[in-house]
Subunit: 338 residues, 2 copies
Amino acid sequence: MSEWIKVAVDAMGGDNAPGEIVKGAVEAVRANENVSVTLVGLQEQIEAVLATCGEYPAERLSVRAASEVIETGEPPVDAIRRKRDSSMVVGLKMVRSGECDAFVTAGSSGAVLAGGQLLVKRIKGIERAALAPILPSAKGPVILIDCGANMDPRASQMVQFAQMGSVYYEHMCGVKDPQVAIVNVGTEEEKGNALVKEVYPLLKACDSINFTGNIEAREIPAGGAQVVVTDAFTGNAILKTYEGTASVLLHSIKDALMTDLRSKIGGLLIKPAVKGLMKKFDASEYGGAPLLGLTGLVVKTHGNSTAKEIQGGIEQCILFKEKRVSEHLAKSMGLETE
Amino acid sequence: MSEWIKVAVDAMGGDNAPGEIVKGAVEAVRANENVSVTLVGLQEQIEAVLATCGEYPAERLSVRAASEVIETGEPPVDAIRRKRDSSMVVGLKMVRSGECDAFVTAGSSGAVLAGGQLLVKRIKGIERAALAPILPSAKGPVILIDCGANMDPRASQMVQFAQMGSVYYEHMCGVKDPQVAIVNVGTEEEKGNALVKEVYPLLKACDSINFTGNIEAREIPAGGAQVVVTDAFTGNAILKTYEGTASVLLHSIKDALMTDLRSKIGGLLIKPAVKGLMKKFDASEYGGAPLLGLTGLVVKTHGNSTAKEIQGGIEQCILFKEKRVSEHLAKSMGLETE
């Protein structure tokens, strides 16, 4: 038995597939000796890209043919059920069967969520898997859980999200007892909608997390907590508002700097300083969004992922396995591992 | 009977009370001949500021003594019930009795919401009042309704929010049939949490609005719709994430520009261009957040409002009355005005 960590990668997912995906996988096996990657998708297309990649350790990079592709915008559950030979379904099943430890995809978010829940087993005792993207903040990475899977969660599920997020953050970001907070409309305990009012006392009573109370969404970009718990609907709204605001502001500043010569020269002068800043706010530094609660790791990277993000997603899977996050997770929650 | 539009102003509300509040009221009566303002609060303090303001049309600026102040952080409903001689309660009652047409406050959001609902009558047929702040976007102002009043609204209430927001936007921003969209996690009709799934078909069937479907939160800063409908919990999360992200990014850029001489010089050169940009993204240009659905207008301005924002809030009340927005609102929704 090899000691390699085995990662399946959806070669057909995202805007830049298969080119950037295949290149990212090649970079990952070059840079990490303990990983083997299986590229899943249309074999000819994948091999055509591989032929342009120069030398790489071929014993740790293989191709698994899958004849179908799930497109963004297809109804997710339907696509997962119908396209049984798609790169997404084949890759997820490799995790289910234990053939691979993890799966990385830049494909349709809806399909990853549906497929992850339908095809990969949950850790015994976990009620629902949760998507947990990492946001940049002024004080470092913040994990936002849930952000896609459960639109109308039960209170008990929210408590599990908090526990899973805390363990993930502790081991993946290296911070003991990270601050866990729940999104609310104010800092007072009695505030909120019906769900939050029900969840708050449960989190307060939960011994395995460092619960710091409510967090207003305004404090998330400032880094007011490290693990931010919310339902998937609100989480999605926060994540998308964050991305949209940053994007519109930065584009507007760029445009403003092109209006006249004075601004253009100023823009050139500030470029190095602003570039360093942008790196700090680049979420892709922290890898993709993990779908937590499954027996294997599923990572969703941005739809416009380049080779760099795919490599990051694969390295996230390596760290996850090396740090034995699944085991810590089950242990911290008093669950059995399988 | 005078033809003046009568606005009560909470002289004690907000971080800069009473100084900036009183100055804003003075500016408003100076600049607008058709308004009379009543400053509500601690008489001596208000008069001390007025004494420093130079000449103003005193026949249109009066003081109404109120001996108590509701502080930020007090439990709102309790504060409204207990402090019956507070500037907030006295001001709201002046709207209820018809003595004033509108009330402007920079005080506690919770207290305005509770007091607005408890003390001012709703338009007959309106189920709940809704707070509707105006956000800046790349394409102009966006109204986000509801953003504070109803954490777990019923579907029928959400439809009324859409109708109220549409009428307000049309008459206050001068755009016929503004685009109305509902916040969701994707653009497809079948997405969302239970509430949105229930509301979507009702909005689609609503003849009095120009419903354009779902909007992802990412598109709000880009100006993807003019009237954005959501529950107060999600609305609050969107508003606060928007403000927090913009604030953290702009502060980080400012800091980055102070790191070395090159960046400092660049920063000076780009200042005029960036200043123009900031004006575009300055929400206070559009006044405060109206609490819609009441028989008089209640406007909540930012807690850190300066004289300029208070003047803006008062002028918002003038426009609201001049454009007869309440009447249009009742008419568009098939309701009687009182």
